[in-house]
C-alpha cells in the first residue's frame, strides 16, 4: 500500500509525518516523528533521486552549516559540511556560511546546495563532499547583492530536467539567474520583474524573488512569486509577465508549487503585503490556484479559518505530492500544518503544534 510522507523543516529540527496514501480522513491518521537532525534548524528537505535517501539542509547557530542525510527514512542521520566553505581567505572578505538553505538533485545525480550568504555548492558524491560553483559568486553584480528580510540567501534551485548545462537559481534580494554552461557563467533572468523598493524599479539584478518553479515537463515555462508581483515566463526566464492583476488579492506572497503533470496548474498563498503584517488578506486563509497559467485564479478557503487568522506561510512551506488527485500541504509560521487531498479545494488541519514551519516536502512511497 502506498504511503504518504511529509517532510517538515523547522527551527527546532525536522519532522516526518506518515499515513497510508489512500487513507484520507482526519489528522489522527498521520503519525509524527521528530524532532530529527538533533534539533538543528532545517530550511529544506528533499528526496535523492534513485536511492530514496532523505537530505536536509540546515545550519546550527553553534555548529555551523551542514547537509544531513538519512538512508532509512529518517531513523538515523549523518551530516557533512566538507567543502562547504568560502575558504580562510574568503572568510576575511565576507561572512562565513551560516546555513544551507536549499537543495536540489540534478538529472545526473549530483546534489546542489544553496547557502547563506548566497552561493551555490555541488556534490558529486551524494553529499559527502562539496565544492563551490564559483561562476555564480564571481558574477559581475556580486558586489551589489543585498539581503532580503530573510538574509542574502540562495533559496531556489531548478536544474533543467534534461539539459545538464542549464540550471536556474533564485537569490533574495538579487533575482533569478540561469547558467547555460554547467555553472561556469550565469545570466540574470529578471526582465519584466519589478523592484518597487528600488529607485530604478527595473534593474538588471536586485529583484526580490520569493519562489519560482517550472511547469512539469515544460522547463521553459516558469512561474514566480515575487515580493512585487506574481509572474509567468514562457521563455525560460528571458522575460516575465505580471499576473497579479488577473484577480489576485495581493502581489505579495512566498510559496508556489506547480502541478506534477498539468502544465497549466499551480498554487500560491498570497499574503496581504510586505508592510501590512505579511499574513493572509483580511485574516481569512486561502490557497489560490490557476488552471490556465495564471490568466484566472480560484480562491479556496474551505476548511481553512476564514476570520481572525493571522497566518503567514514561508517560501518553502508548501508542497504537492504525485497522487491523482494531487495532495497539497502547507505549514504556517505558527506551526499549523494543513493538507488537501483534492488538489487544494478542501483543507484539513493535520496538526497545530509544530514549531514555526520553514519547509514542507511531500512524497509517495510504494
Amino acid at each position: 500500500m502506498p504511503t504518504s510522507i511529509l517532510l517538515v523543516g523547522t527551527p527546532k529540527g525536522a519532522f516526518i509525518l506518515e499515513r497510508a496514501a489512500d487513507e484520507g480522513g482526519g489528522p489522527d491518521d498521520w503519525a509524527i516523528r521528530g524532532p530529527l537532525c538533533e534539533g538543528w534548524p532545517i530550511h529544506d528537505l528533499i528526496v535523492e533521486r534513485g536511492g530514496g535517501a532523505l537530505l536536509a539542509a540546515g545550519g546550527s547557530p553553534w555548529y555551523g552549516p551542514a547537509v544531513w542525510r538519512s538512508e532509512d527514512l529518517g531513523v538515523s542521520w549523518t551530516h557533512s559540511s566538507v567543502g562547504l566553505t568560502f575558504g580562510d581567505d574568503g572568510g576575511t572578505s565576507q561572512e562565513p556560511i551560516k546555513t544551507v538553505w536549499s537543495l536540489a538533485v540534478t538529472p545526473d545525480g549530483a546534489i546542489l546546495a544553496g547557502v547563506e550568504p548566497a552561493a551555490l555548492f555541488r556534490s558529486e558524491d551524494r553529499g559527502a563532499t562539496w565544492s563551490q560553483v564559483t561562476g555564480l559568486t564571481e558574477h559581475e553584480s556580486r558586489s551589489t547583492w543585498q539581503p532580503g528580510a530573510g538574509g542574502l540567501i540562495l533559496h531556489t534551485i531548478i536544474p533543467h530536467p534534461t539539459d545538464l548545462q542549464r540550471t536556474w537559481v533564485g537569490i533574495s534580494a538579487v533575482g533569478v539567474f540561469e547558467t547555460l554552461d554547467g555553472g561556469a557563467t550565469w545570466e540574470p533572468r529578471n526582465q519584466g520583474v519589478r523592484a518597487d523598493f528600488n529607485p530604478d524599479p527595473h534593474p538588471i539584478t536586485g529583484q526580490c524573488v520569493h519562489k519560482f518553479a517550472a511547469a512539469a515537463g515544460e522547463p521553459e515555462s516558469l512561474y514566480q512569486q515575487n515580493h512585487c508581483g506574481m509572474y509567468r515566463s514562457s521563455d525560460g526566464g528571458l522575460s516575465w509577465t505580471d499576473l497579479t492583476a488577473n484577480g489576485l488579492p495581493s502581489q505579495f506572497g512566498f510559496p508556489l508549487v506547480a502541478h506534477p503533470r498539468d502544465t497549466n496548474t499551480f498554487w500560491i498563498i498570497p499574503l496581504n503585503g510586505d508592510d501590512r503584517g505579511r499574513y493572509v488578506p483580511g485574516a481569512s486563509a486561502a490557497v489560490w490556484r490557476t488552471h490556465d497559467r495564471g490568466d484566472t485564479w480560484i480562491r479556496a478557503g474551505d476548511g481553512l479559518p476564514q476570520q481572525d487568522a493571522y497566518l503567514s506561510v514561508l517560501r518553502e512551506a508548501m508542497a504537492r505530492d504525485t497522487l491523482d488527485p494531487v495532495g497539497i500541504t502547507f505549514g504556517t509560521k505558527t506551526g499549523q500544518l494543513w493538507h488537501s487531498d483534492d488538489e487544494g479545494v478542501n483543507w484539513q488541519l493535520i496538526t497545530r503544534d509544530l514549531p514555526e514551519i520553514w519547509a514542507v516536502e511531500a512524497l509517495i512511497l510504494d
Binding site: 553553534w62 555548529y63 555551523g64 562547504l84 576575511t92
Partner: protein, 87 residues
Amino acid sequence: MAVVLLPRSLLALFPGVERRHEVDGADVAAVIAALEGRVPGLRDRLVEDGPRLRPHINVFVAGVPADLRTSVGTDDTVHVIPVVSGG
C-alpha cells in the same frame, strides 16, 4: 597530554564518540586538529572560515577563555562549551 572535554550537543553529532579525550597539541588549533584525526568532521563544527572559533563556541584552557592561538600545556584541561543562547 592535555585533556579535552566535549559538550553533549556535539557528541550527539558523532555517535559513539567519548566526551573525554587526551591529545597532544601546542595550541587550541593543534588540539582541534588532533581531534579531527580521531573524529572526522569535528573541526567543521567548531571552526569557521578565518580560521576562527565559531561565534557561539567557547573554549577554555585551564579555565581561561581561549582562541585558536592560545597555548595548551600538557597538564591543561580544555573545555569546549557552546554559549548559552537560543529560544
